[in-house]
Amino acid sequence: MTKNMTIKHHLNEKLLMSYAAGILPEAFNLVVATQMSISDEARARLASFEAIGGGILEDTNKEQMSPTAFQDVLQKIKKTKPVKKYSAPTMVEGVFPEPLKKYAGDELETVKWKSIGRGVKQAILKTDNKASARLLYIPAGTAMPNHSHNGLEMTLVLKGSFHDEKDQFKRGDIEIADQDLHHKPTASDDGPCICLVASDASLKFKSIIPRLLQPFFKI
């Protein structure tokens, strides 16, 4: 899995600008940051929005700093340890890019999955409560329960691939779903699909039984 892979499904401008401006809930931030680590194209898109932030900062008026501010900063620099230097990245990387490791641990093998039926497993990641983030493991050829959304949901493929009625999604691809999309994502037949999903609302399942289970599984 090289980093400069070509991905087909990108974030829309709304979400890139929101990330650049720093106004996304933490769970969505995590998905965006993870995708940036997988795709250079995604990173270039985001960085162009961040350049707008640079322009706004440059253009803002000055607010007087305290008279001792510069000396204070030099003191703080001497007291703090330099930030850890990251080693040069390798062309081949694991399933979890760096930003995700802070939330999910270093490796796929150590994730504490909880089964939610029919071989589907999930692991909830701890973020602020404005939106939730979780890892999903979908066995090959298995469909997720058919559901619609009452909020925004972002699904980033980390391993394997899935398809819905319209498209196929591979590593680095992001699917954005909102109120209007009723879909039935299905993992491809050639292997399990592992995704990072962020959502700011719980899912509305179309059938009654998953809906009853919903409060227990936090999905």
Partner: protein, 215 residues
């Protein structure tokens, strides 16, 4: 240290190396931007590089005088009180010192890079917790960036800032309110209509080159 002065004094002669891009021509650049502005954006990039390579306190002092009061203002406009904004602006400058080695002038203008640090501090302040910072993670910067690429990146950013200033009032206001955290992501249109094509191509090229150098 990277010396950019020879480029700055050439009256916008386009550096050759980046000619692959479908760029805005240098004539348009020259019309829109004053020489002073380009001079100053390059100056700030130079200062960060000097902090990184020589632990240059004087360059850092210059950066501080220019950016710290602006960061403080940016944070106050984002809703922080004066004391918090002061502290956070100071912390941002501490991070600028420590992370200067990560600054890549072919991928971002000095103001952009410092903005992302200030933005992350603002988020940390609101959340008091960890946050993914993909900008720290990549392969660092090109040890020998091509001066022409640096100039072009800084120019492009200045040009973009001008373009944002010249947007229709309503559109411009949405952009500014978003960056001052005065809007939620739901309130932003799916397509922003912002003129980002050129700067995006430039960043993409810079990333490709880094990758090529790594092989």
């Amino acid at each position: 240290m990277l010396d950019l002065s020879e480029y700055i004094n050439q009256d916008f002669e386009v550096p050759k190396r980046s000619s692959k891009l479908p760029v805005t021509s240098d004539r348009i650049l020259a019309k829109v931007m004053s020489k002073d502005k380009i001079n100053s954006t390059n100056h700030w990039a130079n200062c960060i590089i000097s902090v990184s390579t020589k632990k240059d306190e004087e360059a850092f002092s210059n950066l501080f005088s220019h950016f710290a009061p602006r960061i403080k203002s940016f944070l106050m406009k984002s809703g922080a009180d004066a004391t918090t904004a002061e502290e956070c602006a100071q912390d941002t400058m501490v991070t600028v010192w420590h992370k200067a080695y990560l600054f890549d002038p072919t991928r971002a203008a000095a103001s952009t890079w410092i903005f992302t640090i200030a933005r992350n501090k603002r988020i940390d302040l609101a959340r008091r917790n960890n946050r993914p910072e993909p900008e720290d993670l990549p392969w660092g910067s090109d040890p020998e960036p091509d001066a022409s690429d640096v100039i072009m990146m800084q120019q492009e950013t200045t040009l973009l800032a001008e373009a944002v200033k010249n947007l229709p009032l309503k559109q411009r206001s949405i952009v500014e309110r978003a960056f001052y955290a005065d809007l939620s992501h739901q309130e932003i249109a799916e397509e922003t209509g912002l003129p980002l094509g050129t700067i995006k191509s430039r960043i993409r090229l810079a990333l490709q080159r880094l990758r090529h150098n790594m092989k």
